[in-house]
Symmetry: C2
């Protein structure tokens, strides 16, 4: 079952665009490990926040991704850009009006 992970990442002031650049760096490996979509964005009303919507083949694929060395390295590299203000939620996709 498709799994969605949606989050807000608070950044150190002034580091938002650097975090966006980091998170949007091309990674074909993400597709290989079951990532279906990974949209990164901003909202100028919250200038120290980066927004992420992720879709994964399954909850298990998302969990497993966190143990992949390249993902762990990416998280470690992002850490200096982050405040500790995280938000968001996750859910199992039940369907979409855009498909049967």
């Amino acid at each position: 079952m498709t799994f969605a992970n949606v989050g807000t990442l608070g950044t150190v002031p002034g580091k938002r665009d650097e975090l966006v650049a980091h998170l949007t760096r091309r990674s074909d490996q993400l597709t290989e490990i079951g990532c279906l979509a990974y949209e990164v964005g901003i909202n100028d009303e919250e200038p120290n926040t980066v927004f992420v919507v992720e879709l994964w083949e399954s909850d298990a694929a998302h969990q497993a991704s966190l143990a992949v060395p390249a993902v762990q390295e990416s998280i470690a590299a992002a850490r200096p850009l982050l405040s500790d203000d995280f938000g968001g939620f996750s859910f199992d996709v039940a369907g979409s009006p855009l498909r049967d």
Copy 2:
């Protein structure tokens, strides 16, 4: 610029699955008016909440959708299923690691 709208919809107790069925009813019109993705889901840790991730061609396309009669009818039909507990956020998509 792709626009993302992410939300949590609190439901009247016991009405979650009815709201999921309502929101996932097939609508080709959504595609026609600029909706790129519309994922509806659940999380059993929050049994009276429905989760929605929407991607639109633009913020303007999303705004315009709210004035489309079929969308207004759908919102009106959903209203009896909803508590007034809404959450979420919206953002402009800056990119994705899955594409150049």
